[in-house]
């Protein structure tokens, strides 16, 4: 009796584990089978590097979206990465552990806020602020970058904290014993030692920023245009898919799948490089 139930559970769990894997496989195969033929038929260069996106007229150039995605992501990194790493350093090196134990979970709560709520705050608070003080329509590249910059904070902070904490205590003690100040120790010993973990946190955060959709649709204005400044509206790759999928048929639908292929490749590259950087660290030890 216990043996059979054990076996049943084993099989069941195996099936569950494989179902997750097969879901990934299914999605990958589906997106690629739907999108790749279109890319070849339409022309790889024409698709990636043309600025004309007009599905009704059969024009499918995603270059403005690629550029916008890069800018929004870079903007989010410029805001989120320094804040996140600085926050992690502060929490690990400059405050007592008890304080960190309160603040860290609260920051991680940020990750639990649904993205539509971020978008809503962006539309209601951030966009009017930008419109009134900086000009432009408010819904802009800048608004998207700020919102995403905040959204990626928990990823950067918690992974960075883990990797800073993983630096052996003896490193710090050695440095302090040589007469270095806490800041000198952080700058010259702890951060370099935790470098790969911090880099991985930033790459993972980039993956999240590239993939985020709802908040971005709400705050960036979604114009298909290469932005001339941070105050202009932009449309990212994810927003392009989400906005138009409801109406897309035929070629248009395939073009959106092809957009998905491009996104998929970008995020795969980011994830692989994150795990590569992480492995590097383990290998060094």
């Amino acid at each position: 009796m216990p043996v059979t139930s054990e076996k049943i559970m084993q099989r069941l769990l195996l099936a569950v584990a494989f179902s997750a894997l097969s879901a990934l496989l299914l999605i990958a195969v589906f997106i690629i089978s739907q999108g790749l033929p279109f890319i070849f038929r339409y022309g790889f260069r024409e698709f990636l590097f043309s600025s004309q996106w007009n599905p009704q007229a059969g024009k499918f150039g995603i270059f403005p979206m690629v550029v916008s995605t890069l800018w929004v992501t870079l903007g989010a990194m410029a805001i989120g990465a320094p804040l996140g790493v600085a926050g992690a350093v502060f929490l690990t090196e400059f405050v007592p552990r008890t304080v960190m134990r309160i603040i860290k979970p609260s920051i991680e709560l940020l990750a639990g806020i649904p993205s539509v709520v971020y978008g809503f705050i962006g539309v209601m608070v951030l966009a009017p602020l930008i419109r009134d003080h900086l000009g432009g329509p408010g819904l802009s590249l800048l608004a998207g970058s700020i919102i995403l910059g905040i959204m990626i904070l928990p990823t950067i902070i918690s992974i960075s904290i883990d990797s800073i904490m993983a630096v052996p205590k003896s490193y710090r003690e050695g440095s302090l014993a040589l007469g270095a100040t806490v800041w000198q120790t952080v700058r010259m010993v702890t951060l370099p030692a935790a470098r790969s973990g911090i880099a991985a946190s930033i790459i993972l955060a980039m993956g999240r920023a590239v993939g985020e959709t709802m908040a971005v649709i709400m705050v960036t204005g979604n114009s298909v245009k290469i932005p001339g400044s941070a105050l202009e509206p932009v449309r990212t790759l994810t927003a392009n898919i989400a906005l138009e999928m409801g109406y897309a048929t035929g070629m248009h639908r395939q073009a959106l799948f092809a957009t998905g292929v491009v996104l998929f490749v970008v995020i795969m590259i980011l994830n692989f490089s994150a795990s590569y950087v992480m492995r590097q660290r383990k290998a060094r030890r």
Binding site: M1, S5, I8, M9, N54, P55, Q56, V123, A127, P128, R131, P137, G138, L139, I217, M218, G221, N222, S223, V224, K225, E232, P233, R235, A242, L243, E244, G246, Y247, A248, T249, H252
Partner: protein
């Protein structure tokens, strides 16, 4: 003990699947998001008077409405286009309501009337400042819908000659267009006439107000029909549902909620 739990699980699953199998009169409507709320209301009323019927209403947009009526995924497709695309020619189309498209601006904007030509120039990006259209010196923020939207397609087909300016903000629903225009003093957008409220202002087009009366008398230009699409020979149940929507009771519901009746 564990075995018992498994049996329980199976029996629960069996009960559920048995429930699904009982195929009562089930009709699915899918398509136009502009008509979706009205369809939901109508379905609710229909189900109260016909307890046996199950009506499911799904959105997805006009293109989805046409596609799902063609493929049979939905018995009734909903589409809000001025002209139905060629692939819909095998479907039987019934106009069940009409909807005005209001061109809306921020209430702070002093402009009250725009000509068709001015609207075309604004959405083309030829007019970039409100002072060129009789307003204050303020940059125009054009707000439009995504490509393929029934409202946008109808708007562009009626105004004609629009090639949307690149700077235009794109919003994915009537509701977000309304919010954007309500928040931006320089914005102009368009949305379903049933969704007008005090936060935004509808302009006159060529001197005609966007009111139910002007739409009924066909003085107002921006009007689109709402089609229900079915296979050429719809089943008796489907026909009964459409007849209900066209009945005085159904049409009254449509009118009470801000759309304009079919006739």
């Amino acid at each position: 003990m564990k075995k018992k739990a498994l049996y329980l699980l199976f029996s629960v699953a069996l009960v559920f699947s048995a429930g699904c199998g009982k195929n009562k009169q089930s009709i699915t409507l899918a398509g136009s998001t502009a008509f979706q709320p009205f369809a939901e209301k109508l379905a609710e009323q229909y189900m109260t008077s016909n307890p046996g019927a199950t009506i499911t209403v799904q959105g997805g947009g006009s293109a989805v409405g046409i596609q799902s009526a063609l493929s049979g995924a939905a018995q009734i497709g909903m589409a809000d286009l001025v002209n139905l695309p060629p692939e819909a020619k095998d479907l039987s189309a019934t106009v069940v309501a009409r909807d005005g498209i209001a061109v809306v601006i921020n209430p702070a904007n002093k402009v009250n009337n725009l000509t068709t030509g001015q609207i075309r120039d604004i959405f083309n990006g030829k007019i970039k400042n409100w002072k060129e259209a009789g307003g204050a010196d303020k940059t125009i923020t054009v707000v439009s819908r995504e490509a393929g939207s029934g409202t946008r397609t109808s708007f562009e087909e009626i105004i004609t000659g629009i090639e949307l300016v690149g700077e235009a903000l794109i919003q994915e629903s009537n509701g977000t267009i309304r919010e954007t225009v309500a928040n931006d003093a320089g914005a102009i957008g368009y949305l379903s006439h049933g969704l007008l409220n005090e936060k935004i202002k509808a302009v006159q087009i060529d001197g005609q107000d966007c009111t139910t009366e002007c739409i009924m008398t066909q003085k107002y230009l921006l009007v689109r029909p709402i089609f229900l699409l079915t296979k050429a020979q719809p089943g008796a149940e489907v026909q009964r549902m459409i007849d209900y929507i066209l009945s005085p009771e159904g049409q009254q519901t449509i009118q009470q909620n801000g759309l304009i009746t079919a006739k």
